[in-house]
Amino acid sequence: MIDVKALLPKDHVILNLTGSSRRQILAALAAPLDRDAVITDLDRFVDDLECRENEITTQVADGIAFPHARSPAVRRLALTVGIAEAPGLFLNPAVSEACRVFFLIAVPSFAPTAHLPLLQRLADFAHEPKRILKLLASKTPAQASRCLVSFKG
């Protein structure tokens, strides 16, 4: 089973996420990874995230998105969580619904399928609206991180 606790330190949780465009939102989400040197080139990683979004959107109903991309700029598998204030942010111009919860996964290009168990676990977590409401009600990054880590699937 994948260890979310190891992948999600509390400083990888962004409360009050902001951004007026898709690129700004993705760059804000990737900023903690850049700070921790998990990614070597922020611009390239954001380019790869946008490319992946253009293939098929990762936004699902209920205002949740799972942006992720395989990139040579990524050193290891990593996760960041972003929570935006209501009414949310528009990740995809083709989708009229705003997003409030973002799970960003950085995938190294040498292990392109390493994130699938993590994605499955996050999708299971997001499937239950009660859990998302609890995550949205988190007051601190540590509380949000605990909410995700305590989910056993």
Partner: protein, 158 residues
């Protein structure tokens, strides 16, 4: 029987066609280059196919009951790419995909699938079309690093 008859006649033709090893100069230089490009195109198509298959897998996880219309487009592209790859190579690729990756890139003599060193002799044989572009350690298809890739990697290091 045909094999034995050939051997009796003292034929110089290879006894077991599967074990035939071509000499470096078996093909004229132009034809060798064309074969090299064909293999590069095939492995590139495999890498693209693999990428699309992974995207489809991700989308099935994320969009459970409400698949977006782009999924049908990706499925169509997968069908087209599979048509481009010869059946024999596609079977080998599918065999590896059942347990992970079917095609990977080679960088600085390393297979990106198993992270083991590919012997320089094997790399030379692959480039001279004496061997399929397959990692001798893990058996995955290898996309060999081109001269442009090497230059790009060199400029990034500098």
């Amino acid at each position: 029987m045909a094999v034995l008859a050939r051997r009796r006649r003292g034929s110089v033709a290879p006894v077991w066609p599967g074990l035939r090893i071509k000499q470096a100069d078996a093909y004229p230089k132009g034809r060798r280059r064309a074969k090299d490009e064909l293999m590069r195109e095939t492995v590139t198509a495999m890498l693209e196919l693999q990428e699309l298959e992974i995207i489809l897998e991700e989308s099935k996880i994320v969009h459970r009951t409400d698949p977006p219309r782009q999924m049908a487009e990706i499925q169509q592209r997968i069908v087209e790419l599979r048509r481009q790859i010869p059946d024999r190579l596609l079977r080998r690729y599918d065999g590896h995909r059942r347990t992970g990756l079917g095609a990977v890139q080679e960088a600085a003599g390393l297979c990106r699938g198993c992270n083991l060193n590919v012997p320089q002799g094997d790399l030379n044989r692959m480039k001279n079309d004496q061997m399929h572009w397959i990692c001798p350690n893990c058996g995955r298809f290898l996309l060999l690093e081109s001269e442009e890739d090497k230059e790009e990697a060199g400029s990034q290091e500098a």
